[in-house]
Subunit: 116 residues, 2 copies
Amino acid sequence: MNDPDCIFCKIIAGEIPSSKVYEDETLFAFKDIQPVAPVHILIVPKKHIPGVNEFSPEDEPIAGKLFSAARKIAADQGVAGDGYRLVVNTGKHGRQSVDHLHLHLIGGKRLEVSLG
Amino acid sequence: MNDPDCIFCKIIAGEIPSSKVYEDETLFAFKDIQPVAPVHILIVPKKHIPGVNEFSPEDEPIAGKLFSAARKIAADQGVAGDGYRLVVNTGKHGRQSVDHLHLHLIGGKRLEVSLG
């Protein structure tokens, strides 16, 4: 547990249940409980990094693993062929909902053009 | 030049003009010509990686650099404090417009909640 008050740290630790779809030594991934599309997965580092503004050079390998995991999970979820969207929200303007860095993987339908 | 038919490779090579905001040995970043918000930057690897589905383990350091550059560019553009959104579109469902991996950095206004 990195931050005892963080809901994602509690999910990673198994203290709060989740629909896990992937886990390795660096990352944990589970279904978003408020999906915006048929496939909506959150991929989170096990390390408690609050957000992109707190992402340090030493965290760069984690970002690499996030991309590799996104590719694998998209394939596992059957959306690799049709496509998908990866999103990281930061801060108030970005509508970040939990202050633990997370990558949304969204697919299973043709997504809206608008990004903002 | 990695792919002579790729518009982003041409921008990186300076063959097509762009409003560059950042460059290092790995990445090139420029203003989106169709911004959806006051700040809308595209951060692209100089290596021609078509998309996330073609992202290989050897490319993981590039993803790390993408996150570090996003943090720096968000600060440079004055949106770090209020927040921003990072997006990578993949394939048809994801509305990927150019087949060269690119990270959208979007900010400068309160973004829509919807991600898909």
